[in-house]
Every structure is written in structure tokens, then in C-alpha cells.
Amino acid sequence: MSTIDDKATEVPEDAAGESAETVPPEQEKEEVAEKKEINKGLVIFVFIAAFVASLIVGWILFPMVLYTQENQPIDFNHALHLEEVENSCESCHFFREDGSYAGVPKLAQCVDCHDEVMGDDPDELAFVENYVQKNIEVPWLIYSQQSDCVFFSHAAHVKAAKMDCVSCHGDIGESTSLKVYEKNIITGISRDIWGKNIGGIKLHSWDRMKMNDCAKCHKEETGNQGACFQCHK
């Protein structure tokens, strides 16, 4: 047992370090120095280890825990459909006459073509058998679904501001397979709103759709970030 330790027990805790350094017994100085060295190294090591571990937890493990992965009911091939339709995205994702946006198509639209199985794709077969024939709506998981307090006007962006779909939705139109839907276990909201990058690093305009992203673009494009009710309900 070292005396330092004994001494330390004798002095009040907050003064322990100080007294140990101000009046160290001669013969123990070296030992202390050596010990300090070890300590310092160890502390730095522990610091770095903890630091790295936390980074790993924060950057890698945390998102794995935070999001559950859900597969879409049918693996939809956007690229394939885009070739077939005449009016690009708007063929299926269209505006209704009243100006509202239909969003993800309903079964009724799909049935226009998929009344019966057209090809030999197993996903199409499953779609027709499980949904078309049973007349059940496909429970699509919507990547870009905002929470209920958000009012988003597609008409204002697409029709009035003439923006293209890619600006916000990325190149989903060219995908041949649907990516996994990731749902936030706390909020229940799609990962696409925060962005795939857990650090919020944004490389493309469509990478993240938080309020600040909306406000930033509004500020750049219209000169002001807009009033609350412009996007909230």
C-alpha cells in the first residue's frame, strides 16, 4: 500500500491532489513520477478509447438501434415503369383537379395496367395475387412522409416554382429496386426526413428534408424563409 493512498485518505478529498503534489516525500518522488507517467498514458488511452468508442456508438451503432428496417410490401421497379409511361413521374404521381397531390398511387391506378399479370416478375405476380385480386390497397411505406403538422404543397413547388421532382426526391425514378424503409423508433418517421447520413451531412439537395432545409431553400429562392402557416397546419 502506498502512503500516498494513506495520505489521501487522511486529507479531505478535494484537497487530496494538491497536498500530494506540494509536499511529496523525497523517496517517493520517482515512484510517483513513474506512476504519473503510467497514469497519464493510461488516461489518454482510456480517453481515446472512450472517445473512439463513443464515436462508433454515435455514428455507427446508434443509427442501427435508432432505425428499424422495414421492407416494402412489393419491390417496385421505378426505372422499368418510367420507360413504359408517357408522362414521366406525373403519369402515376399526379395532381388532382382540385390542386391536391395524389402522392403514391392507389390500387385503382395500378389496376389500369395490372388487371392481370403482365410479365414474369415474381413481385408483379405477388402484387396481382395479393392485392389486385383481393382488392386490397398496397401498404406502401412512404419515404418522404412528413409528420402531421406539416403542410407541403406540391403544386406550389412543381407547378408554380417549376421545380423538378429530383430536387427533393433524388433519383428514385431511376432505381430498379426499392430501398429498405428505415423507421425511427422514437418518432416513427422515415429516415429520409433526417437524411441517410446520421450526421446530417448533406451532399445533395434531396439528402435531408428538415424544416431548416426548407427554410434555407426558401430564403435563397424567395428572399425570405416564409411564414409559419406556409408549411404548417
Binding site: 493512498d5 491532489g17 472517445f51 446508434f62 435508432l66 403538422c149 418518432t187
Partner: protein, 726 residues
């Protein structure tokens, strides 16, 4: 190497610092803060209404007799909102509080969700087949016993195909006892029959009137077709030359909207009308040529009016100043398109026929009968042209028996006497009614002397309710065959609320039936088919829709497209105006029962529905806290009278009449005649949901029917009451 305490601390701090720094530089804390705030802003139990394609469906509202066009906004298959239909002949976009709350009835907890049978005092769900079988079995037995006339029906209306189908069923079955609940429609009908010699409904050309003299009619409180009346009232306001005078003992919303409020002693309205007639005749302000050409018995009327109704005398009885009576008469006779109307409050209870005739005589005197801006006698819409129901011997015999309510006998011009139905059940040992159908009516709440009504209903061996909601009468029933609600059902709606042409509206299903309900028309067709013989033969239709389409014929397309059809060919009956019945029934007035000093009167408000449907939660929410506070209802009383009874604002008191007692609270109101206590109608429900039941007191518990000597209908407008502070 040993790890001592100091090391441990250092390492701990190091680790903590590492974790701290690492975590701070990782997205974890920031993302968690963000997520938890989103989480706390969107609790999972806060509903998120699903979005979808919006559509609009038109129909006609049947929650009151007003007949407004409604447009229901839907998101996918959900109804979101009810709005008034723009361009509709009745309401042109406007809508009342009850119509607006319709979705709370559709999706609400008061619905009867499936056929129900009372089993040991509790409701038990049964299948449609067994429910109908049970009723048919009973009907067959009653018929076998040779008492078909003991089957009766109480209904809110006798017009339209549904009412006619039920009536037809009763006729073929052998019962004359189809009974309509009463309202001022009865009083006007009888007054017109007496004065013009033929049955017709009353119509008012308010949109073109320039002076409206209202004897207590709540034109801004829900009288007639409420939305139409509000619109007319606004039209009068838009023009400086148009005016509304309100004769009423209480400053109602209508009186407040009126250009003049004449605070009369209640129950003396007819006397005032006669007094006004006196001035008009005395000063020769009436249309002499018209009277000479188109009337009978004018001289007797003139003599009577001049002798008995001088402004001095009338002033003493009515409490209206002599100068005021003269001024009203001059204003009325001097207007170019005046009209006089009556039927107090919303007109839900019939009135004194003498009063209706006296008021109508004013219209006749100044030429406002069947004239622009005046009153019209409107024939009932005549579009149901079925062959007569087939009758076998049992039916032929049964149909000739006397009506249980005695209508048409002592009072030949009265077609239905529901108040007498209650008496005839209660006055005999066994109920003369073996089986009762109830449709679109809630007599156990809406009829005076509620306790007596409930007693009668308890005596009826078997009651079949077709109500969509658990109302007071349905609770008395033995079996419920729930009808679709107004938003789920197809039905023609003849509009009876004072339009000048016969109009038929079409109520269209705007949504798939929410519960296991069935259209009442289909139920009667189905029952007829199970009854065999002449009854089956009288119902050649497979279902109600087929029946309605065949009945409407070429009108169907117009109705389906516009929602209503106007019988443009109908002409007001241009009969002679006969003053004789008015003279003959001089002063046949209805006096309030009792001997107390105070008079209790009811008042109607748009925010408290008084019909067979109870106030939905939204409407209840609008009721002021000077009308209802907690479960206490407030009665209005003049501060002067309150002082006499040592009552101050908010005091709890007991209100006693010869019919019953009620716990109330007192609201001091300057806008009411001293000596009067006014109580709102529409509260004190015992059924429906927790948002309505048990709140306040039912006015009908405190008043009893008083028969009008001319029509036999209940014409009680108030009752003597005692109030004591508790």
C-alpha cells in the same frame, strides 16, 4: 500495476471526457434531442387523420323539416364536413347548427348499430331476419284475433314515399291508426281548411314581403325552414323600407332582430290580432273590393270586431298600449306587401286555432292571401300515384273502425290527434294499441306531460322503433329495427316548411351504411311480402329504391341531378275567404293550467334542438353558461319579479307546476315581462350520449296538454308555476 483510487478517478474522468467528447462529436445527442422533441410533439394517441382524394356529395338534410340542401365533403370514404349547398332553393349555402353537426350523429356513440331486442330489460343484438320474423309473427297473430286496428304508427310526417308505404301497410293490414306528431303545420292546415274550405299547407313569400308582423314566431330562432328564414331576415335588414315587428313576451333573438319588439301578455296574441283588425276596419284601411268579391261573413266579422275589440279593450287584455296597437295596424295596412304570421317559437307545438284564424284574417283584410309577399295556401305535392292498397275482409273491416286518437270525429278538420292517443291508452285497462311502430318521432321526450306519455308507452304491449339513435322513445321499445341515418339513406323529402310551391327534395346516401342498419322502406316491403295475401299484393316492389324510382318516374332525373323538384304547375287554391268560423269561435282561447301567480313559458333556440333528435356534442358546446352550467338549467326571470321572490342571479330554485317539479337556477334578464318565467326547450334528455343526457330539465315534464277547443290539438303555450329559492 495496481489501480488505486486516484487512478480510478483519473481513468474515470478520462473515460468520461472521452465519452463526452466522442458523443458530442457524434450525432447521437443532437439527434436524440431532435427526435424526442418530435416525439413529444406527436403523441401516438393524438389521431392523424388520413389524407386522400376529396369529393363532394349532395343530399337533403332531414334532421328537421326545413329541407336544406347539404353538400358533404369526403376524403376517400370518410365524411369530413357538412356544408350548405350553394344555389339550393331553400338554403343557398347557409346551414344550421344541427345540420352542421350531422357527422357526430353519423359516427357518434348514440347510434343503434344493429337490430336489437329487449331481453330482461337489456338490449341484445339480433339478426335482421329474426327481428322481422318476430314482428311478422305478432302482426299475423293480431290479425288472426281480428284486431288489426290495434296496430298503430306514430311518425314525424305523413308525406313522402316512406310515410305512404307505412300508411299503405297499415291500410292493407286493416288499421286506420297512422298518427303524425303535431306542430303548427296542423294548426295552419286546420285554420286554412276552416277559412278556405280545403286542406292545404301554408306557404309564405317572405323574400318579397316588406312588412312582417310576427305573433311570436321565432323567425330568427328556427321557425319554418330556419336557414331560409335567416336569409329572409337579412334581406329585410338590407332594405330600409322593410321591417319586422315581433309580438312576444320575451326579448327572443327574433325580437332583438326585429325593428320593433312588442312585449305582449302571453296568450293574448289573438286578441291583439283582432284589435289590429278593429283599427284596420274602423279606419277603412282594408281592401274593400277584394273582401267584397272573395269573402263570406265579413259583415258579422266586422260587427264582432268593432263591438268587442276596440283598442282600449284590447290594450287592457294584451298589455299593449292603445297608441301602439293603432300604429301597428297603420303600419301593417300601409305596407305594400305585408304579411302576418303566427305559431310561437320554432312552431314545434300547435297553437290556438282562433289565434291562427285571427292572424290569417289580417292577411285577408289587406289582400295578402295568395299574393306576392303574402301567404299562400299550397296544395300538398301530388306525385305519389299508387293504386289503392288491396283490402281483404279483415282490412276492410278494420279500416272502418274509429281512430284510436279520435281524430276526424269530434273535430272533423283534425286529421291526427296524438295527445288523445296518450289519453285513450291511459284511460282504459288494456291498451287499445297492441303494437306500435315509431318512426322519426320521439314522443317520450317531445310531448307535454312526459310522465303521462311514458306511462302510456309502458302500457303498449309491443313497440317497434325504427330510430337510428338511442332516444327516449326507443328506450321504451321492445325491438329496434334501426333505419339508416339521413346521410346513408335514399328518400324523397316533401318540404312542408312554408315554401310557396310544393317542393320535393331527394335525400341521397352520401356514404355506405356505417352500421348494420336497413332502410325502413325496405323493411316494410319485406314485412308485407312475409304477410302474404292482400298485404303482399299491395306491395309490388322488390325494394324501396325500385319503389321510389317508379313513383317519381320522370322526376327522378331532375331530383337526382339537382336534389329537388318544384311543382311549378301547382296553383294556390283560390277559394273564398270565409270569416264565419272565426266569428263562431270567437275567444275560444287556450288558458294556462294552474292558479299560481307566475307563468312559465318555454323558449326555443337554434342551439338546442327540440325535435326528435337530441343536441349533438358540437351544438351542446355552443349553449351559453347562462342557460346551462354543469347540469343545471337556468330559467329567465325579470329582475323585478326575481326581487319579489327574493331571488338573485345564479340562485338555485325549485320550479313547481301542476305537472311536475324541476330544479333550476335563476338568470335575471331584463328582456322578459315581469311575472313570466322562461325555460329553454331541448334539455333534460335521459337518453342519447353522455354529452347530452342528464343535463338540465325537460320543459315538457312541467307542462301538460291543454286541448284547443277548435281543433282538439294540444295548444298549451305555458303553465302557471311557483318558484321557490332552495
Amino acid at each position: 500495476m495496481k489501480i488505486d483510487r486516484r487512478d480510478f478517478l483519473s481513468l474515470g474522468i478520462g473515460a468520461a471526457a472521452g465519452i463526452g467528447a466522442g458523443t458530442a462529436l457524434s450525432p447521437l445527442p443532437w439527434k436524440l434531442i431532435d427526435d424526442s422533441s418530435i416525439w413529444s410533439q406527436n403523441w401516438p394517441w393524438t389521431p392523424v387523420p388520413p389524407d386522400g382524394a376529396v369529393s363532394f356529395k349532395n343530399s337533403v338534410c332531414t334532421l328537421c323539416p326545413g329541407g336544406c340542401g347539404i353538400t358533404v365533403r369526403k376524403v376517400e370514404d370518410r365524411c369530413i364536413k357538412i356544408e350548405g349547398t350553394k344555389g339550393n332553393i331553400v338554403n343557398n349555402g347557409g346551414i344550421c347548427i344541427l345540420g352542421l353537426s350531422g357527422l357526430q350523429l353519423l359516427y357518434g356513440p348514440t347510434r343503434v348499430k344493429a337490430p336489437m331486442k329487449k331481453d330482461g330489460g337489456r338490449w341484445k343484438e339480433i339478426s335482421w331476419d329474426s327481428a322481422i320474423d318476430e314482428i311478422v309473427k305478432r302482426l299475423k297473430n293480431i290479425r288472426k284475433e281480428g284486431k288489426p286496428e290495434s296496430v298503430a304508427c306514430v311518425s314525424g310526417t305523413d308525406q313522402g314515399t316512406v310515410a305512404q308505404l307505412i300508411g299503405r301497410f297499415l291500410t292493407a293490414y286493416g288499421s286506420p291508426n297512422y298518427i303524425r306528431t303535431s306542430s303548427i303545420a296542423d294548426s295552419y292546415e286546420i285554420a286554412l281548411k276552416k277559412l278556405h274550405g280545403q286542406f292545404s299547407s301554408i306557404g309564405f313569400d317572405f323574400e318579397n314581403s316588406d312588412f312582417v308582423l310576427s305573433f311570436g314566431s321565432g323567425v330568427a330562432d328556427g321557425w319554418g325552414s330556419p336557414v331560409r328564414m335567416f336569409k329572409a331576415n337579412s334581406k329585410w335588414k338590407d332594405s330600409k323600407d322593410k321591417a319586422l315587428y315581433q309580438i312576444e313576451s320575451r326579448l327572443s333573438n327574433t325580437a332583438a332582430k326585429a325593428d320593433k319588439w312588442i312585449a305582449i301578455i302571453p296568450g293574448t296574441e289573438a286578441i291583439l290580432a283582432m284589435g289590429i283588425a278593429n283599427v284596420i276596419i274602423q279606419k277603412s284601411l282594408y281592401k274593400k273590393k277584394l273582401i267584397e268579391k272573395y269573402s263570406k261573413g265579413f259583415n258579422n266579422f266586422k260587427a264582432l270586431v268593432l263591438k268587442e275589440y276596440s283598442p282600449e279593450k284590447v290594450s287592457k287584455i294584451t298589455g299593449v298600449k292603445k297608441s301602439e296597437i293603432i300604429a301597428i295596424a297603420k303600419k301593417f295596412a300601409g305596407a305594400s306587401r305585408p304579411v302576418a304570421i303566427c305559431g310561437s317559437g320554432q312552431g314545434r307545438t300547435p297553437g290556438s286555432i282562433f289565434e291562427f284564424m285571427a292572424v290569417h284574417a289580417l292577411n285577408a283584410l289587406i289582400g295578402s292571401v295568395n299574393n306576392i309577399g303574402g301567404v299562400f295556401s299550397v296544395p300538398e305535392p301530388d306525385y305519389i300515384k299508387w293504386t289503392e292498397a288491396e283490402k281483404d275482409d279483415v282490412a276492410a273491416k278494420g279500416i272502418k273502425t274509429d281512430r284510436i286518437d279520435g281524430a276526424g270525429k269530434k273535430y272533423p278538420d283534425t286529421r291526427y290527434l296524438i295527445n288523445r292517443l296518450i289519453d285513450s291508452i291511459n284511460s282504459t285497462g288494456d291498451s287499445p294499441v297492441e303494437l306500435l311502430f315509431v318512426n322519426g318521432a320521439n314522443p317520450c321526450y317531445t310531448m307535454p306531460d312526459t310522465e303521462n306519455v311514458i306511462k302510456a308507452f309502458k302500457k303498449i304491449p309491443y313497440i317497434v322503433s325504427f330510430s337510428s339513435y338511442f332516444d327516449e322513445t326507443t328506450e321504451m321499445a321492445d325491438i329496434i329495427l334501426p333505419n339508416h341515418t339521413n346521410l346513408e339513406r335514399l328518400e324523397d323529402i316533401p318540404l312542408a316548411a312554408g315554401l310557396i310551391k310544393p317542393v320535393v327534395g331527394l335525400s341521397m346516401p352520401v356514404v355506405e351504411p356505417e352500421c348494420n342498419t336497413r332502410h325502413i322502406g325496405d323493411v316494410f316491403i319485406q314485412m308485407a311480402k312475409l304477410m302474404d295475401g292482400n298485404i303482399k299484393a299491395s306491395f309490388p316492389w322488390n325494394n324501396y329504391e325500385e319503389c321510389l324510382k317508379k313513383t317519381l318516374g320522370d322526376k327522378w332525373d331532375k331530383l337526382a341531378r339537382d336534389g329537388y323538384w318544384v311543382d311549378e304547375n301547382s296553383r294556390a287554391s283560390r277559394g273564398i275567404f270565409d270569416f264565419t268560423p272565426l266569428v263562431k269561435n270567437n275567444r275560444n282561447l287556450v288558458k294556462p293550467e294552474g292558479k299560481s301567480k307566475l307563468t312559465l313559458i318555454p323558449y326555443d333556440s337554434m342551439r338546442l334542438t327540440v325535435g326528435y333528435i337530441g343536441d349533438p356534442p358540437f351544438a351542446m358546446k355552443t349553449v351559453e353558461d347562462t342557460i346551462l352550467k354543469g347540469n343545471d338549467v337556468f330559467v329567465e326571470i325579470n329582475p323585478k319579479t326575481a326581487a319579489d321572490y327574493n331571488l338573485s342571479e345564479g340562485d338555485k330554485a325549485r320550479l313547481t307546476t301542476s305537472k311536475g317539479k324541476a330544479k333550476v337556477r335563476v338568470h335575471l334578464y331584463d328582456g322578459i315581462r315581469p311575472g313570466i318565467v322562461a325555460m329553454p326547450r331541448g334539455l333534460g334528455h335521459t337518453e342519447f350520449d353522455e354529452y347530452l343526457a342528464g343535463k338540465g330539465e325537460n320543459f315538457n315534464k312541467l307542462i301538460g296538454p291543454v286541448e284547443d277547443p277548435v281543433s282538439g290539438l294540444d295548444a298549451a303555450w305555458g303553465i302557471q308555476a311557483e318558484i321557490t329559492k332552495t
